[in-house]
Symmetry: D3
Subunit: 241 residues, 6 copies
């Protein structure tokens, strides 16, 4: 089984960290590869960044299809391009926000999300609504650290933010609201005192489970392959599967 983890931003160091997280949970016999798109923003911190990350993400899906990938993880907490990716890919595609949020529902009554910049909280709420977990999502909080500044030095601030979020929301678990926090998940679990969920790991395991069950997107209607047509300009050379 081959799983491809797509980092929707163009920062290779973050791809490496995401890859590490995915590998740490994959079963023996599951190959995990990680990709940095050739186009897109260095980090995703606005609706604009997210929108502009999608062509790069889809390009990686298209390449994966050519190379026989069995399933995909979209490793940004906005789950950018999820619906379009499902149309392109024969195998399952799972976003880290959906996997993390749904995983959290198994651990207690509610969860709280701790994300990076305050402006991204709205997107988390939109996804909670889309995934049917609004009732489980007790709050979305921002630590106010830019995505690319997340590193071991920020552990104390993140710990504090997770604790405050749990207390404010009386929540049972913390969902990390950024793939850039994947490297810190193990440490946070120790310092926070409640389940801490990294979406990269959750989504990797979800894809692995779906492939194990031979389950994938129903391509019969809404998620059929996109109808062929002319694409102009900017998208020249885009490799469609």
């Amino acid at each position: 089984m081959r799983i491809k983890v797509v980092n929707p931003n163009t920062t290779a160091a973050m791809t490496t960290a995401i890859h590490r997280a995915a590998l740490s949970v994959a079963a023996k016999g599951t190959e995990v590869e990680a990709a940095t798109p050739s186009m897109g923003p260095a980090s995703i911190e606005s609706h604009y960044d997210e929108a502009l990350s999608v062509p790069g993400v889809l390009d990686e899906i298209a390449k994966g299809e050519l190379s026989g990938v069995d399933g995909y993880v979209l490793a940004c907490f906005g789950d950018p391009g999820l619906d379009a990716a499902r149309e392109l890919a024969a195998g399952p595609v799972v976003g880290i926000a959906e996997a993390a949020m749904r995983t959290a529902t198994y651990l207690g009554r509610t969860f709280t999300v701790v994300t990076t910049l305050p402006r991204t909280r709205g997107r988390a709420w939109d996804l909670a609504e889309r995934y049917g977990v609004t009732r489980f999502c007790a709050g979305v909080h921002a630590v106010d650290i830019p995505v690319l500044d997340l590193d071991p030095d920020t552990l104390p601030r993140l710990t504090e933010a997770c604790r405050e979020a749990l207390a404010a929301d009386k929540a049972d678990a913390v969902v990390l609201g950024c793939a850039g926090m994947a490297d810190l998940c193990a440490d946070l679990t120790k310092t926070v005192g409640a389940p801490v969920i990294d979406g990269v790991r959750a989504a990797t395991l979800q894809v692995q489970s779906l492939v194990t069950m031979a389950l994938t997107t129903n391509h019969g209607d809404e998620y059929a392959k996109p109808p062929p047509k002319a694409y102009t300009g900017l998208l020249h050379g885009f490799s469609r599967a």
Copy 2:
């Protein structure tokens, strides 16, 4: 007042028809311009098409900002790039799906949507949910005509589809689920026997109303200008305001 209507696909003939619809309702003193992006799909009939239309849409918003546009209409029923466009534009941005659906709520208890291809119905439901009109939306139906095939010859089939949708859903109004139907709205109103709503007109008037009241997106938090950062590859040369 200057309103820019952005056609998210790259088919100029459709831009012309959309422009005509917008002009038909704008007040004296309101200038309406219409734009075809330099990149994107020829028509939007899948999540994939919609995703790939967004960079072109945002480019048009960015150009509009440089030229002093007061407000924008996104003239595709998927409202592609709406959140990102609101970050970029100083003035208001209105999608035709949101304007059409909200307009319909003033006309009775429920509306029904008649769109092009069956695979796009899911997106309409997603938007209804996002805009808070799920309770008002009694159904979403597809006439099964590709976007670029909509023309006066399809009027009988569209009429039939609208009537069937109204009867099946016991709805009070029809929302046209594609900007490509704008030219047919007046005729459909006559043949269908119930209010028929074209989102291009509704959104143009909504932008005009917002500008008249000097109301625009709150740019203080979620919809602040995107933080500056590096954009790689595909997006090189993209003109940001």
Copy 3:
């Protein structure tokens, strides 16, 4: 185009202020008239007041129908008699609460309502639910000033209330919860630092837009003309269209 703005209470000075607000946004060529009913409460500050305002409102609608009005605004934030008015009027009828709340949804993720007396907050929540904007409505706050005491002297207290509401709810816009605040909207916009929405203006423009698009209530079923029958006592002499 003729729009009639009905002030559901019997205080003529308030009708004048409401008229001024409506005129300030109407397009050239749109005639706006305002009416004070001949029966009803001096102000509307309870469910009881609102209930007793409805016959006077409907009487004004009935008169408007006799005189060829194209559309109506109900200028009280409780939208009293909206459904009944839609049955009576050939043209569209828009309440200021529904227009203000829906307008606010174009400006950001959430809005907050600032109203007069605390006891009226429940009605605002009921209307938010009815109009499908509960998710957008982050709070309803009362400045605790009776309707007829609203005047330029109350601007500082209203400003303070709007700022507190925005901060408490982390909202993107303020919806003014009383037609009696229409005169203060421009000043509040300057002092509050976020979009401030006056329902009288929003509803006037909404009616104007609907009439421009030749859209009106579907009178085929629920909103058909009321069936003729005997009305006894109190309602003797009531002028039905």
Copy 4:
């Protein structure tokens, strides 16, 4: 204990039938009186009728307060003036729609409503939503008989409508959607083969239960007595408690 059942329309024969239904379930020691308002429509079959019934209803509440009534039933399925009545009355006020719908939730998973004219179905749905029973309400159906034409001769058609509604909705119980059906409830129970709920009986018992528990509306905030003020014209002479 004294319970006053207010018939919101002005047809005395219907008041008599409603009175009979209420008396048939009241406990020993519970006095039940029934009133026909001195003003209002002969029957309630539109939003307009309902709006115009409210002043008469409130007048009866006001009179009841002067005479020491302990609790009130509003005996029209639109529950007209319920909020206002709760402000006026010291004791509890219960509408027949809310009592019938909530009673039905004890009897199975879902209920279906059978009402008179098709145009009144929307109001039933609005009330279901308001009372939190939308999930329990599987459908609202109209037998298409005007309110004042309901009599023993319509039993076969009503039976048929109830059976069809139960089958179409796979519902567990029928809620009768008009006080004018109260007299037929016992017969319908026999012919329909599923629980049939008459709101007049349900509401009378609910008021009796509330008074027995010494429970009434909280008059501390939203449902405080209406603030005193001038009422003009039409309402002159209206007797307020």
Copy 5:
């Protein structure tokens, strides 16, 4: 009419208090009996306790059926075994949480629940959702007193908890979240200054009302008698009706 009130825990003193509460509201001619199951936990303070109380509850229902009981009250705020009991009993079965919460909806806009241990709050929210009263339930608060420690000495702490809950939630009524509070309801009503609802009384009256109207569970589908089959081990000797 015979009503059987089942105390789901095995503490006879609590059964006595519950019986007293039920008797205090029953009409003349209504016989009320109360039962302590022969198996189960001494009190119910966890999902585990609640699960283990159900066989004892069902045994009491089965015994009641053999002896001709007309309706049942389940006198624990978790409404344990409600669905199963409705399958077994010919007459209506009402839980005290559902009766209390629905009763509260007649008294104002919202209610607040005051319960015993913090860990039981989740169950109260689940039931509010099930019964369709989530919108009416403004909060669930715990006084942090174990069920069997509730006695007149705890009145001051309960009073304080009720007042704090009303203030925190701006609620109109208090729902007592434990049958063990039934004895204190009258005193709390005096000290709290807002309607206080005891579910034992509310449910007893609700059963009485249903029996008066000859209404009971529809046994035609979901709530038909359980299909006969082998039950092993633990349940040997369990008396089925």
Copy 6:
């Protein structure tokens, strides 16, 4: 890693089939054991059966805790005793309904459930609501075959039922509504032409994923160990962890 799959009914042959399904997807290194409780109903086809299965399920959880099990699957589509089991078990507990329904959300817009007896459909809807997937659940259908009659001979009828459900609901996937269908899942996948989800497999993989991520129920509040207390009668000898 040791996973224990608990069959809530007492039919050993069904436990064997469930075990086989779980083993077919578990990773190398994951030990899967399956247990038949010593008490309970032979099959679960009513609320009553489900209620009476819970003590046996909890007994198996308690035994598992004594023997060092890492996580549990509850292998009945009613997820009986899930909350209580989460209190008892140190490791995660997953029901097959929740796992199957959530798995289905990754495969398209909607799923449909095909279950055994019509009377169990209500429970499926309750669980869909609880798990936040009501919007994704397009329908629940019954094949009208008792649980213990499911065998390879019923494949044609099940295939037909799945196809009809998919067509009626325009759904993207089928969720099998009974653990007794686990053995038929592979064949149904071939005959039905859309993704078919067996909850036993889905839940086994979900538990495996949670254990891999070292995630388990938060035992700090609602799901803390049940407080120790006396249990009477029926439950004597029940082995608590």
